[in-house]
Amino acid sequence: MEINKLAFRITPDDLGALGDIIMKKVAPALQKLPATLRELRDLQLRIDGETLEIGITLPEVLPPIPETELRAGIALAASSDGDALLVELLSISAWDMETEVFNPFIMDKIGGAVQKYPGIGIDDLGRLRIDLDETLEMLSLPCELSVTGRLLNVSVDEEGIGFEIGKKPRKKTAANC
């Protein structure tokens, strides 16, 4: 039996569990952050229209800056080769900082941190690029499926985050050209 295409949806009800999985995954990375930022917690995922919103509680960094929730709006897309999930930071807000200044700063920090992790990187347009295998591992598919295909599409709407995975096209050889 061969799976040609699989489409699944992470419903809004699943987002809580997914947030917990991501927090566990990034826990080792947090330890490498400055001591004041290691207390990042309560990662929340929400859907706002066609945008995925990530909320995370930032600790009190300095006495004048109180504990606050950092909110980031992100867009998800499939890479053109279907090998990765692209995560684009659309907006970020915390401490009323100017988005134009803060976004490149945050992406630069994220870029520096993720480069140590195999399967995660930053593409030429500054988007986070997570390999499909890594993405699927993070999503923990609830079935005994071995999906080794390509990511055809990712969509975000009120019903959840939809993923479409298709079979990898066979490489052309002289015999089947």
């Binding site: 039996m1 061969e2 699944f8 598919l141 959840g160």
Partner: protein
């Protein structure tokens, strides 16, 4: 997490033993192959060599799959039985008494294809026949052929291919 669509191919090698498992002992399948979009099943039933040609017609609501029995051909190694067959088509090719109005039975001839459809459907849970079309209930089919994921959706496509069966199940 919801599975919203699953499209898969099941090879003939996988289908063959499963099909044989659900057939009576008197029926043996020797070959399954695809001829264009139709499926050809070649086998033996009670010494009768048969060839069934089947096409597909998926129901719009996806609850069941319609298999059209396009053609049935029969042959028997003993020619004398063929003669009997010619003279006694009721027994061998199928006919049924459809009404007994005024105490008289009238015969309605049915095609071999209709006869075979009715035979297959009789005693098989989840399979029904209407004319020469066999209807397979999707839920029953999924129980007989367990998939690697729990899918409770509707069949939206079902096709015979050279390599096997290709089907799509969509979320309801």
């Amino acid at each position: 997490m919801d599975i919203t669509q699953l499209n898969l191919s099941i090879s003939w090698d996988e289908i063959f033993p499963l099909l044989q498992k659900h057939l009576p002992d008197s029926v043996t399948i020797n070959d399954i192959h695809c001829s264009g979009t139709a499926l050809c099943i070649v086998g033996v039933a009670k010494k009768w060599d048969f060839t069934l040609k089947i096409g597909t017609a998926t129901e719009a609501n996806g609850n069941r799959i319609g298999l059209v029995i396009k053609n049935v051909s029969l042959s028997h190694p003993d020619d004398s039985i063929l003669n009997v067959c010619v003279w006694n088509p009721i027994k061998y090719l199928g006919a049924e008494i459809v009404s007994k109005a005024n105490g008289l039975g009238s015969l309605k001839w049915q095609s071999k294809e209709e006869f075979v459809a009715k035979k297959i459907a009789s005693g098989n849970k989840g399979i029904s026949a209407k004319g020469n079309i066999l209807y397979l209930n999707s839920t029953t089919l999924l129980k007989k052929f367990p998939l690697p994921v729990h899918v409770t959706g509707a069949f939206t496509s079902f096709a015979f291919t050279e390599n096997g069966i290709e089907l799509t199940i969509n979320e309801r």
